[in-house]
């Protein structure tokens, strides 16, 4: 390799290294601010400032969904396994919203309840055909295995 090319190679590699380090440091510094959601445990522990708008993430607790008969108002409980949080929402819910589904609700705390202005359903990374899902559910029922989310093979 001739000296000019070698010099260019070194200079460009150094610049690339510097940018890489800068990006890594930025990513680490953003780790706090970029947090997309808080779980009920974090909220109850006071990690979220009062009156702040934030996103609450967790599972919809089984049997907790209550729909109002005369409006779009829906009440449900979001749980992360350790703590529960009552959520109130008025509006149309996404297709994937149901019991034991991960959801992300945006809103703020009002009198101990979380009043959401938006509810998003989180999808997981599993894709399973219907027949396989049914077969697995049947097998689980037969062997008395507590219900578990089916995973693909």
């Amino acid at each position: 390799m001739n000296p000019t090319r070698k010099r260019r190679l070194v200079v460009i590699s150094l610049i690339l290294g510097a940018v890489g380090i800068a990006a890594t440091l930025t990513v680490f510094a953003l780790q706090q601010n970029i947090t997309y959601l808080h779980t009920p445990v974090e909220v109850l522990a006071g990690k979220v400032p009062a009156d702040a708008r934030f996103r609450l993430g967790g599972m919809v607790k089984a049997g907790s969904i209550q729909r109002a008969g005369d409006s779009l108002k829906t009440g449900f409980t979001v749980t992360d396994g350790d703590a529960d949080m009552a959520v109130e929402y008025t509006g149309i819910l996404p297709d994937l919203f149901r019991e034991k589904q991960s959801v992300i609700a945006t809103g703020r705390m009002e009198n101990g309840r979380f009043v959401a202005s938006e509810v998003l359903a989180k999808h997981d990374e599993n894709y399973v055909p219907r027949d396989v899902a049914e077969a697995m559910a049947n097998a689980h029922k037969k062997h008395d295995i507590p219900e578990k989310k089916p995973t693909a093979q």
């Binding site: 260019r8 690339l16 599993n126 894709y127 055909p129 396989v132 089916p150």
Partner: protein, 251 residues
């Protein structure tokens, strides 16, 4: 000199590359078309419906291959940019700049299909989570590279300046890929894994892999077509380019 290195040197010469690309192109376009038809038929018709998203999940066969291509093409562009900056090889400059609009198109398709998928499933067209935001930054990087390339008069200087931007932007690639792992995001984690079992049923997986291969072929065909035209323009006035032009007139 060993034969592989010799072939590499030969490949770098515009007339040789022009002829080789011309011979490969019909095959690449043909195979890409067959792959796209097979992959889409497999994905949209043969694959079984998902247990919770039913037929809506089929958009995965466009969304995920485009997302993979958006990153693959960026890596390709940056690697060629690196070679162009260090060794000043004309072919690498041309390839890097010819790849940028194709990559931008795949990124735009990825963002658009993601948005269409997100509205019914998540409940929103767009959210500022780490995966979506970093993919949007990737689109802006592509647009920046294309813009910078066209803002400078001298073609070779322009491609080197743009190649430098492309190279710096490569830090975004790991951020896009690992964003779903590093942060709490609305976007789910990776389904198809290079190492270890994928989290998708085999009957749903194969069309996805066919689409991944077909989009690579589509990129190769599109890239070579664009690079041929760019090379001819760049080398206008050279003897080989004159001959190509004359031969074109005769046929």
């Amino acid at each position: 000199m060993n034969p592989l290195l010799l072939w590499f040197h030969k490949l770098g010469s515009p007339p040789y590359f022009y002829r080789l690309a011309g011979r490969l192109l019909p095959w690449l376009w043909g195979l890409a078309l067959i792959g796209l038809v097979a992959g889409l038929y497999g994905g949209l018709v043969l694959a079984p419906a998902d247990y919770q998203q039913s037929d809506a999940f089929r958009i995965i066969y466009v969304h995920v291959p485009s997302a993979w291509m958006s990153m693959f093409i960026y890596a390709f562009m940056a690697a060629n940019g690196f070679v162009a900056l260090v060794w000043r090889i004309k072919l690498s400059e041309t390839l890097a700049m010819a790849a940028a609009p194709i990559g931008a198109a795949f990124t735009a398709i990825c963002l658009a299909t993601g948005s269409i998928w997100g509205k019914p499933m998540w409940g929103t067209w767009w959210t500022w989570d780490a995966r979506l935001t970093s993919e949007l930054v990737l689109l802006f990087l592509y647009l920046g590279v294309i813009g910078l390339y066209h803002a400078i008069e001298d073609r070779r200087q322009a491609s080197r300046a743009a190649a430098f931007l492309a190279l710096i932007g490569i830090v975004n690639l790991p951020i896009v890929h690992f964003s779903v792992k590093w942060w709490n995001t609305l976007h789910q984690g990776s389904t198809v894994k290079l190492f270890g079992p994928s989290l998708i049923d085999g009957r749903m997986l194969w069309p996805l892999l066919v689409m991944a291969l077909a989009t690579k072929l589509l990129f190769a065909a599109s890239l070579l077509s664009r690079a041929r035209v760019d090379l001819l323009e760049l080398e206008a006035g050279k003897e080989w380019a004159r001959q190509v032009a004359l031969a074109g007139e005769r046929t």
